[in-house]
Symmetry: C2
Subunit: 339 residues, 2 copies
C-alpha cells in the first residue's frame, strides 16, 4: 500500500507526524509519503535514520485552523492536504491520513477528490467505544441539515465500512432517535425509517444513546448536527465526570491514597476512551480514501491512524463504496434521479 501522511496536521505538527512516519515505515511493508515543507522535514529527519520506504513530498503551504475551509481549499492549492490528496486523486497513493482541521480536510477533499458518483453528501464518521467494542456513527458534523436520502446514503456507506474494514457482518444499522419505538423521532427520522427498512438488510430501527453505548448497533445513522451534539456531549459529560472525581479524590488523604492504588484502573479506562487508540475515522463518500484523526494525536495515535487507513485501502473500501452506492441507487429510482 501507498499511504500519505499529512506532516502538518496535528496540533504539535510536524514532530508527531515525523515519528509516526518513521515507525510506520519500519513496521509496515508500505510506502509512506510524508507531505509538508521539504526543508523543514529533511532537517528534522536528518539524524533520525528514516527507513528507505519513507518519502518526503514537498508542499509549501499549511491549512491553518484560522483559514476558512471552503475558501482556502480553492485558494491555497499547495497545502500539505491539497498536495497529499492530489497524490490519491492521481492514483499515485492509496489513502490519505491527516490529523488536521476537519472542516479544512473536508473542503479540500471535496475540491481535490470530488464525490463518488451518486453520493450527494460525504459524511464524517466517528468510532465510539461501547460496551461490546465499537460502533460507528455518521454523520458527526459534515452536514448540519439533512434529508432522508442523505441518511440513507450514510447508512449504505456506514455498512460498507463496518463490514469491509471493521469486519462486522452483517452490520446492525440503527437511526439515532429520542425513543426506540417506531414512530418516535423528529420528522427526518420518521421519514428516513421506512427508507432504511426497505433498503438496508439489517436495519434494527431506532436507538437512543443508551442503546448506542450498550453496543446494540454497529452503524448509527444521524444528521451531522445531532451527531455532532451526540459526540461532543458524550465527550464533555465523560470529561466533567472525570474532573469531578479527580477533585473529590484530592479532598482527603484517604481518598488520595485510594486514587493512587486505583490508578491502573483509571489508566485502562482512559485508554479505552482514548480516540488515539482508534487513530482516525474516514470521510466517507469522497472519491478517494481520506482518514481524519484528532488534532491532539501523538505519534502513537498517528501510527494507529495509518493502520486503520491501510486496512481500508487493502479491503478496497473505495471500490466497495462505489459499488454499494450504485447498486442501492439503482434500486431507488427517485433518489438516483437527484444524484
Amino acid at each position: 500500500m501507498r499511504i500519505v501522511l499529512d506532516a502538518m496536521g496535528s496540533d504539535a505538527h510536524p514532530d508527531p507526524e515525523i515519528r509516526a512516519a518513521i515507525e510506520a515505515g519500519r513496521i509496515l511493508n508500505d510506502e509512506i509519503f510524508l507531505v509538508g515543507p521539504k526543508d523543514l522535514l529533511e532537517t528534522k529527519l536528518k539524524d533520525l535514520s528514516p527507513p528507505s520506504n519513507l518519502h518526503i513530498v514537498h508542499a509549501s503551504q499549511v491549512l491553518e485552523m484560522t483559514d476558512k475551509p471552503a475558501e482556502s481549499a480553492r485558494s491555497k492549492t499547495d497545502t500539505s492536504m491539497a498536495v497529499g490528496m492530489e497524490l490519491v486523486r492521481r492514483g499515485e497513493a492509496d489513502v490519505f491520513v491527516t490529523a488536521g482541521n476537519t472542516g479544512g480536510a473536508m473542503a479540500t477533499a471535496l475540491f481535490q477528490l470530488r464525490r463518488i458518483r451518486g453520493v450527494r453528501r460525504p459524511a464524517l464518521t466517528a468510532q465510539f467505544p461501547v460496551r461490546t467494542g465499537h460502533c460507528i456513527v455518521l454523520d458527526i458534523g459534515a452536514n448540519t441539515d439533512c434529508k432522508p436520502e442523505h441518511l440513507l446514503q450514510f447508512a449504505i456507506m456506514g455498512c460498507v465500512y463496518a463490514e469491509k474494514v471493521l469486519h462486522k457482518s452483517p452490520p446492525r444499522v440503527a437511526l439515532l432517535s429520542n425513543g426506540e419505538e417506531t414512530g418516535k423521532g423528529n420528522q427526518l427520522i420518521k421519514e428516513t425509517s421506512p427508507l432504511l427498512k426497505e433498503l438496508i438488510p439489517n436495519f434494527i430501527g431506532n436507538v437512543e444513546p443508551k442503546e448506542l453505548f450498550n453496543g446494540e448497533a454497529d452503524v448509527v445513522v444521524t444528521d451531522g448536527f445531532t451527531g455532532n451534539i451526540l459526540l461532543k456531549s458524550s465527550e464533555a459529560a465523560a470529561k466533567f465526570l472525570s474532573e469531578l472525581l479527580r477533585a473529590e479524590m484530592l479532598k482527603s488523604t484517604r481518598t488520595k491514597l485510594g486514587a493512587l492504588l486505583a490508578k491502573p484502573a483509571f489508566v485502562n479506562v482512559k485508554k479505552i476512551m482514548d480516540p488515539g487508540e482508534i487513530g482516525a475515522a474516514p470521510l466517507l463518500g469522497v472519491n478517494g480514501l481520506v482518514f481524519i484523526g484528532h488534532g491532539r494525536s501523538d505519534a502513537h495515535a498517528l501510527v494507529n491512524a495509518i493502520r486503520v487507513a491501510r486496512q481500508a485501502a487493502e479491503a478496497g473500501l473505495l471500490q466497495e463504496l462505489r459499488t454499494a452506492i450504485a447498486e442501492k441507487l439503482a434500486a431507488l429510482p427517485s433518489v438516483q434521479s437527484e444524484g
Copy 2:
C-alpha cells in the same frame, strides 16, 4: 402554599410519595395534597401519624407507562395526574408535582390546563449539573420539530425560570450548537440566532456541550429532539464511564482496595450527578405550574421536588411567565399573529 403530589407517579409508587408527603408536611408550612386511590393511601398512612396539613385527594385511576399519553389524557379523566392538575386549574392548589411518565404528564397538562395565552409549545426543562453549579436546558423532549419562534419562546420562559426561581440575574442565554461561532449551526439555529439577539437581553450566542458543562450559560435553548439527545447521551456516557471504571477496579486486589479508600469521592460525585438532588423540572408554558421528577425518584428526591415546586409557586412563576410572554410577543408582531 398548596402543593399537590401525585401519589402514583414514581416507579415504586405510592410508598416514596407517602414518605415524601409526610416529611414535606412536617418540615414545610404548606398544605400537601396527596392524590391517588383513597383506600390504598389511607391504609398505608394509618400507622404513620401523618401531619394535619397532609390531605388525601381521591383519584381512582393511574396513568400507566403503557398508556398512550394523548389518548389517555382524554379518556382517563380520573387519574391521579388529571385530578391533581384539576386542583391547580380550579385555583384550589398552587403547583402540581409528579414523578410519573413525562409524556403522560405533558399530555394531561395540555388537556387539563391548556397553554399560557400566546405560548405555542410548552417545553420540558432539565437542570444540568455543570462546573459552576447548574444550568437549565429546554426543550428536552416535548417538541421534536421546532421553528425559530418556538425556540424564542423557550428562551423567554427559560429566562423567567432561571431568574425568578434559580435567582440567576440576568441569566445568560445560549443556543446549543455544533460550533460556538455565529453562523455555525443547522438552519433552525441560524434562523433563531438573530431573533434571540434582538429580543433576549443577555443572549451570549452559541454554546457547544463543552461550554454548557463549563457553566458558560444559565439557560441553554434547543429543540426537543436535540435536547433529548444531549441529555441522554450525557447520561449514557457518564454511566458508561462509571461502569468501565467499576469493572477495571474489580480486576486486582490493589485497585479494589483503592476503590474502597476512594469511596467517599465516588459517593460525592454520585450525589452531584444525581437528578434526585434537583428533584424535578418544570413543564414551562402550560397554564398552571407542573413539575416532573424522575421515575426513579425516592422520598428524598420527591421532597426536593416539592421544595423546588414551592419556590416556583412562591415566586409567582406562572404570572411572571404570562407577563413575559405577553410583553415579548407584543414586541414581535409577526410571532404574535401566529400565537
